[in-house]
Amino acid sequence: MKPPPFHYHDPRSLDDALGLLAEKENAKLLAGGQSLMPMLNMRFVFPDDIIDLNRIPDMASIRKDGSSIRIGAMTRQYALERSEVIRNQCPIIVEALREVGHLQTRNRGTIGGSLCHLDPSAELPTVAQGLDATIHIQSKRGARTLAMADFPSFFMTPAIEPDEIVSAIEFEPWSKGHGFAFVEFVRRHGDFAIVGVATLLELSADGMVSRASITLGGVGQAPIRCGAAEGIVIGSNCSDAAISEAADSCREIDAMDDVHVTAAYRRHLAVALTRRALKKAYDRASGETAA
């Protein structure tokens, strides 16, 4: 299983990378390599050109940009895991990252790479959707942004043009002390989630949910925001009844069938895991458990 032949480029600036991308008709971007290299080794893809982004300085960074957090697309997953800013302000990312592959994966894997690969079972796209992230995109033609909700175009394909590179992801962290939980079901630690749920909650002073974000990964081709479930928990104190009702609303969701598991099972897991995630997030928000 050896890669097919290609021309290799390792530009030293984003500008150079964009120039190459605009010029080459059949090019692939190499970020962490944890998804592209297996595909190359298995000869599932035959790019004429590989544009390696790893030597471009300044594509990896974690910054506060006013009230939002901005993460460079080439930021390694292990760096996110260890970042004080992320741990303090966006702990759901850390909780999700613990499930992403293994130690070796996260040393090389990047947040941008994971988002652009858009594997339905991947944890980071689910969390990005839950955070209502904004994706920054650049090309020779200029810069633009895309809401994460609009980012997936179809199966494992983001809504970006062939000459565009995702340069950063940005989101507003939730308020201090917010509740969060990333819960998934896997067969073995580090596997892609069969189903994963990202939940964020904010409570008002009386312990009622004032804001909720519930996102399912691994159920559909792209992360699914569960508006109905969110509507049920908002205004509640996440009683068992409210949580059950919210979780049960996931029974109606369109789910994928594949050789491993059925759509029915995915829906079943969505319900069970949403229940668990809501309970955990609420307990954290109300200070009943340490985060």
């Binding site: 890669p3 290799y8 390792d10 290299m37 080794n41 293994h102 994966t105 040393n107 090389r108």
Partner: protein
């Protein structure tokens, strides 16, 4: 269509100036061009972990890196664990003492993964060790000896902190 490039890798302290095809994986480069066959190839799609080496101190699957990407990098492979006079690294000794290997094919990758892991976690629980090893497949041992060896090595390394960053120079 194949490109080649001149690159320089430092492997286990020795510099290698070589010319490689740009599609050559780091694993194949180490094994067949630099002739360090201790790193093994088991799947070439990033699951089994047999090819794990340290690149700039980080455990990485060398089957998922191109050799050209390692130009200028400091690489440590299993051949670099023991000291120059042949004294085994505490990890290696612990694997021997705890029957942590059988066929030995997954072992170099396991050792390199643990080397990084134990640098950042000097007193791990058994559960943490098992999670750290979850990206290394072994078909022989059932992992029990490997886990025992890892915990034993962690203890030894805590007693001799200068071993953490690599073998003692004699």
């Amino acid at each position: 269509m194949t490109d080649t490039r001149a690159i320089a890798l430092t492997v286990n302290g020795s510099r290698h100036d070589i010319e490689v095809e740009t599609r050559l994986t780091l694993a194949d480069c180490l094994r067949h061009q630099i002739d360090l066959t201790g790193t093994h190839v088991g799947c070439e799609h990033g699951v089994c972990g047999a090819c794990t080496v340290l690149v700039d101190g980080q455990a990485v699957r060398s089957c998922l890196m191109l050799a050209v990407q390692a130009d200028g990098a400091i690489i440590t492979t299993v051949e670099g664990l023991a000291s120059e006079d042949g004294q085994l690294h505490p990890l290696q000794q612990a694997f021997h003492d705890n029957h942590g290997l059988q066929c030995g094919f997954c072992t170099p990758g396991v050792l390199m993964t643990l080397l990084e892991f134990l640098q950042h976690n000097s007193a791990p629980t058994e559960g943490e060790v098992r999670v750290a090893l979850s990206g290394n497949l072994c078909r022989c041992t059932g992992y029990q000896g490997i886990v025992a060896a890892a915990l034993d090595a962690a203890g030894r390394m805590r007693q001799e902190p200068d071993q953490i960053n690599g073998p003692k120079k004699s």
